[in-house]
């Protein structure tokens, strides 16, 4: 007797709701972005303004800042909804929870990962990166930040509602980000030295596909465990 929404329709509904919520809490989008900019602009102050040094450390600096900015924004992915009970309702929908969790992860990427990609050229220029390095920085960020959101969502679900959850989340998730960091910075360095970065990008792409397939399901399972 209940005619429920189709899977796609309710997926879109969750995504729409998440984007509306993100819009309502706009500064939650800005803070990771501003953090990303501040952390990167600290490095020239610490390391010195010589362009050669900045150029060599630029890929690593941008990518580590991207990791930390994503971590910063992950804490709010589920915690707000834990307190007003909507997370429980998410697990009680007739549709598979992993698909709806995937909608939340996509909205997290749109509000955190994508802005990092769009702002990164500016920061690449500030670190005096060459044009190819700049393009490959954007490319690796575009491919890499979804992985950060996907794996980060698992950590956020595991540390749901725990005291000191933010720091714990960093300890759990940063080791899992290492392959993305290594291959992304490797791709930028290879490209700027004239070598082909195909190998690196395909490895990141493969890692992205694997996390796309497994992370939503593991996150919804972890949510079920945390809300038990």
């Amino acid at each position: 007797m209940t005619h429920n929404l189709g899977l796609l329709a309710s997926w879109q509904r969750v995504l729409k709701r998440e984007l509306l919520l993100a819009y309502r809490q706009r500064n939650d989008i800005l803070t990771p972005l501003i953090f990303f900019i501040i952390v990167i602009s600290l490095f020239p102050l610490g390391v010195g303004p010589e362009p050669e040094i900045l150029r060599t450390i630029a890929p690593g600096v941008i990518w580590v800042a991207a990791l930390l900015a994503t971590l910063l924004s992950l804490a709010r992915l589920f915690n707000n909804e834990l307190h007003d009970g909507t997370l429980e309702q998410l697990l009680l929908t007739p549709q598979p929870a992993s698909v709806l969790v995937f909608a939340k992860i996509v909205s997290h990427w749109l509000t955190t990962g994508l802005p990092l990609v769009l702002i990164s050229p500016l920061l690449a220029l500030s670190l005096d990166m060459s044009s190819t390095a700049l393009i490959y920085t954007m490319l690796t960020l575009l491919l890499g930040t979804p992985i950060l959101s996907l794996i980060g969502a698992i950590g956020a679900a595991l540390t749901l509602g725990l005291r000191g959850g933010g720091v714990l989340l960093a300890l759990l998730i940063l080791p899992l980000y290492i392959p993305v960091l290594i291959f992304s910075t490797g791709a930028i360095i290879a490209a700027s030295n004239g070598f082909s970065a195909e190998g690196h990008l395909s490895l990141i792409g493969a890692y992205l596909i694997i996390t796309l397939i497994f992370a939503p399901w593991v996150t919804s399972y972890a949510l079920r465990v945390s809300l038990d």
Binding site: L158, L168, L174, P175, I178, P179, I182, F183, V225, D228
Partner: protein, 241 residues
């Protein structure tokens, strides 16, 4: 099936009690044998000289750190699928000793690296992966202790262990690849080119000794955590511990 029977604390506790003295004495014997062979009998290496003796601690400790993590992940998988509470007792009992072996491997690795490479810490692929493994151990231990509810702690810990064990080869491969990229000079592999039998035997004995030591520690810790959790249950009073 037999496995199911000993998964209950009631049967596991006495069994562990019986095996404990055996593992304990065997561990002590093999450690003494390993030390004797390693320190007195094994000749110094023609290249590294006496520092090769550090290998008898470093390499078995590194093996143990990975072996214990794999055991914990295996127990986590069993615990999640068959919902056996005892696997969590085993995992929590193994976490500290696993992290200690990783720490020992790192410290002895650095002590061994100083004479060979002239630096206390070298971003060698193996040492770096060992460091990341230590982070995985610390991550598990802090997550497990941060959660009060025992059931959620064991299931969340199990999920993290499974994700960790799947990611470990990926991390190792990427660190290995990253290492060759940034250090073209071929660094002497940490466990030496070809191992002469006089070096190999103490190495293997020490590896066995560490395993027996690990089992005894785990058995003791499991028995005492069973005592904590099941303090009020009748079977404990009847058996008189």
């Amino acid at each position: 099936m037999i496995f199911q029977k000993y998964a209950a604390p009631k049967y596991f506790y006495p069994l562990a009690g019986k095996c404990l003295p055996w593992f304990g004495t065997l561990a002590i014997l093999t450690i003494c044998a390993g030390l004797y062979l390693g320190l007195f009998v094994a000749p110094p290496d023609y290249q590294q000289g006496e520092t090769v003796r550090i290998m008898f601690i470093h390499v078995p400790a590194a093996w143990m750190s990975m072996f214990i993590y794999a055991m914990m992940a295996g127990a986590a998988a069993i615990g999640l699928v068959w919902k056996i509470k005892l696997t969590d007792t085993f995992i929590t009992a193994s976490a500290a000793i696993g992290a200690s072996f990783t720490l020992l491997a790192l410290l002895t690795g650095s002590l061994w690296g100083k004479p060979m490479w002239g630096a206390w810490w070298v971003w060698d692929a193996r040492l770096t992966s060992e460091l990341i493994l230590l982070f995985l151990y610390l991550g598990f231990m802090s997550l497990h202790s941060a959660i009060d509810d025992p059931r959620r702690a064991s299931r969340a810990g199990a999920i993290l262990l499974l994700i960790g064990v799947i990611n470990l080869p990926v991390i190792h491969y990427s660190v290995e690849w990253w290492n060759t990229l940034h250090q073209p000079t071929s660094v002497a592999r940490i466990d030496g080119p070809r191992i002469h039998s006089s070096i190999l035997t103490p190495l293997l004995i020490m590896a066995v000794a560490f395993k027996l030591f690990y089992v005894s520690v785990v058995l003791i810790r499991m028995r005492s955590s069973i005592l904590d959790n099941e303090a009020d249950s009748r079977w404990l009073q009847e058996q008189g511990a």
